[in-house]
Amino acid sequence: MTNNISSVTPCTAVNDFVVRFANTNGTGSASANNMFAKSILRMGIPVSAKNIFPSNIQGMPTWYEVRINENNYLARRGGKSELVVAMNAQSLKDDIESVQSGGFLLYDSSKQLSDHYFRDDITFLGIPISAICQKEYQDPRQRQLFKNVIYVGALAAFLHIEFDVLKSLVGDQFKGKEKLITPNIYALELGYQYAHNHFSCPLSIRVEHLDLINSRIMVDGNTATGLGAVYGGATVVGWYPITPSTSVIEKFASYCERLRIDPASGKKNYALVQAEDELAAIGIAIGAGWNGARAFTATSGPGISLMSEFLGLAYFAEIPMVLVNVQRAGPSTGMPTRTQQADVLACAYASHGDTKQVLLFPDSPCECFEFSALAFDLADQLQTPVIIMSDLDLGMNDHLSEEFTWDDNKIYNMGKVLSAEQLNDIEKYGRYLDVDDDGICYRTLPGTHPEKGAFFTRGTSRNEYAAYTEKSDDYVQNMTRLNKKFVTASQLVPQAEICQSIPLAKIGLIYFGTSSHPIAESQAQLKEHGLSVDTLRIRAFPFQAQITTFIEAYKEVFVIEQNRDGQMRTLLINELEISPAKLNSIANCDGLPLTSQYIVQGILNTLSNEASNQQVG
């Protein structure tokens, strides 16, 4: 098959289209694809990138979806793409299918495409990438790696990406390995020149330089969370590798290697243990929290189930610690490389008995950084675990985000910990005496005072003086106080973010975490249907009264989330005593980042069903 001309008018778009890369995992495509996304960023155009990858190391299909949108609509768009770069023969048929009518397919034309792949409504952009590499390079590894760089070079010509931007990116990427700069730029040139010489460039979809990024950064949430833990003062980490949380720890470790070495001795101001399992990982964090160090662990899916017993201990024995949960699709092993928000209930009520855990729901890398640092203050103030509820999409994909900020005047809040001097002034110390009437008692650290303040920490019931008891009154008093502490927590955690119009819209949307990404776009689309909406973004559990007020203010309220059962909706109903009929559920559980299309369709369907029911009535 030769390069064809599409029978359909090619689609036209400037700074508003999706490019989908189809690769084989383990072929080095990730860094080339990342270079492509970053070149759009450096041209001042809002961009997002989603890695859709298998639970596999080598040889399986993997996709990288880049959305370019000058309105900052950066959630996954869904649907077909304007341009597909098809580099994987395994998935080629599906990849050709995934091109929008009028769109473009960039493929390796070293071997002729068989006729049954042909579509007459798209433009085939064949570049003999393998053949070029065969000719240019001797080393088999180079022949593979430079394929990726060559198609990025070609895309620069097709999409009108400034070549100097790519050159500077190569320079940044190989800082310290200067020998690699020239060959990479040469490979970019090979692709760029071939495209220019064989096709009319640029295409009818292309980018144009803008200045819309300002101080924003492009980074993944796990990097931000790991860095936030450094800034929050975490020193002890126990962990067990599990996708998609692993990079939280890896980033924490790599920042610590740079930023946490004692300048005088060269020794580490942190301790990191790769534990034997998730149970030990959280046990380490709890032991350290008990002993007054800021400690955390990170996990996903099955790790949450394994850690539940210890979460109950830390809740009941009142030990501060931070747990980062980068959620993935469950249950069981589920889809380990797909995203979901399906641990809301498992975490809110983690462990047997009456338990309630503090949850934080960041929605951007900037908030991952902020909440990660904040979580250590909250854990110390509340003397309880704080769980950061991230997800695979937020944690592992690059997002355009506000930059990280830190106030140098901020002082860590270590909560109610008694010093030896303070203990001297107390006649009789009681670990679980609610002195301040806020449910939070004063703790002491081991090794503080020769005579006073020692007590036995336990997961069994105890009285106010930490002595073991099975007296019902003591038990009830303690459980009631823990509930009071949870009310105090609702005042300390980040408040919900509310946007209301005047007069109020008819519809209220409630969402959290990455489900907020398609909201602005959904609002614009709903407006086209004559619907205006107000919004509330939940940022933490326990909930505040303002959430109840919001729900009561609207005729229709939708809770938008990424799981099957509408877990946040259930939690709202349970905790705020909302009538179930009051809350509509928009829940997507396909494991892919939520799209505005799904939300809008869900809302329209619900409203039209209600309208027809009323007519029938």
């Binding site: 020193t235 060269g266 002993n291 036995f456």
Partner: protein
């Protein structure tokens, strides 16, 4: 359950180097069964800490769940304790130790806690070379749930209910030796003369010290069919080598019958004096120690004493190169890189 003891003190009680009496090291009244071996272990810990003149509040007592794990309530009242979850004391002790390397960590576990539910955690805390004393009170049964067989019960023995132990027993000392523990010993709760010096030596050891302590359960495993009964242990115990701990500038005379003795100098200049009852016995060969344990076992005997000691051992913090200052005492300046560095990091994401 725990009760406070009377605070009455005899005015002329002997004091140690810190001016503290033996009673300053005691805990609450035990609620274990009368005659429980575990109470003898608690009392040995009290005596060892008193004689070493350790400040009680500089100790952290770590335990899991079970009769054994209740024991830390019965010694060192002025020390903080953490009764964690079943089988997970090693990880909690790891976290605590990482947070503050200056305290002395005494872990108290049982055969169920360490050889069954907590087997993984036991293996890995040994491997991590945590600087702590890890004791297992080993009676071959689950006491708190009324007498089920434990994984350390000898194959072929019967519990009180007549249930036969069908499967191979787990020897935690052999495991500890194989996994690289740098101080491994076995003792008997009924032999304080041997146990107290071992605990003192183990606390003084810098690195992971393990003592498996045969500690008969008077209620559920003291019957004639048991190989963990007082009578059986008394009749079948054999001792290879025992230790005395000799602090710097202090000489003590051992009450152990003289065999060959060997002094090992510790980091701080104090001595570990090893008395060998069998003059050919070596305490520096972990593989040989495993062979000896197994050979005595074949003869139906319980080998006790110090099995292995590596005086040059290093521990987790040395391997990790952790700051000498405890991590929980580092101030914010040492921990938080500040806004200027953050600006540079932001720049790397543009």
């Amino acid at each position: 359950m725990s009760f406070e003891k009377s605070s009455f003190r005899h005015p002329r009680l002997a004091v140690n180097d810190l001016g503290l009496t033996y009673r300053d090291y005691e805990g609450s009244l035990s609620t274990l069964c009368a005659g429980c071996g575990h109470d003898a272990i608690s009392s040995a810990v009290v005596q060892a800490c008193y004689e070493l003149a350790i400040e009680p509040y500089k100790v952290a007592k770590m335990s899991g769940i079970g009769c054994s794990s209740k024991s830390p309530t019965y010694f060192l009242n002025k020390a903080h304790g953490f009764n964690s979850v079943h089988g997970r004391m090693p990880s909690v002790a790891t976290g605590a130790n990482l947070a503050n390397r200056e305290l002395i960590y005494i872990g108290m576990s049982g055969d169920g806690d360490s050889a069954s539910i907590g087997m993984g955690q036991f293996a890995h805390v040994v491997r991590r070379q945590l600087n702590m004393l890890y004791m297992v009170a080993n009676n071959g049964v689950y006491g708190l749930t009324k007498g089920q067989l434990a994984a350390t019960a000898d194959k072929g023995t019967k519990n009180k209910a007549g249930e036969l132990s069908l499967f191979t027993d787990i020897d935690l000392c052999v495991m500890a030796l194989q996994l690289g523990a740098t101080f491994v010993a076995r003792s008997f709760s009924g032999d304080k003369k041997q146990l107290v010096p071992l605990i003192k030596a183990a606390i003084s050891h810098r690195g992971f010290a393990f003592i498996d302590i045969v500690s008969p359960c008077v209620t559920f495993n003291n019957q004639p069919t048991s190989t963990r009964s007082y009578d059986y242990v008394h009749e079948h115990i054999k001792t290879a080598a025992v230790v005395d701990f000799v602090p710097v500038k202090k000489e003590i005379t051992s009450e152990v019958a003289a065999g060959e003795s060997e002094d090992i100098c510790l980091h701080d200049g104090s001595l570990m004096r090893i008395h060998k009852l069998d003059k050919n016995y070596q305490t520096t060969n972990a593989v040989q120690a495993i062979v000896d344990i197994e050979e005595y076992k074949k003869k139906g005997e319980i080998l006790t004493g110090l099995f292995y000691l590596d005086p040059t051992a290093s521990h987790f913090h040395e391997i990790n190169n952790t700051n000498d200052a405890p991590l929980n005492k580092l101030n914010q300046d040492a921990l938080c890189p500040g806004s200027r560095i953050l600006n540079g990091i932001n720049q790397s994401f543009r």
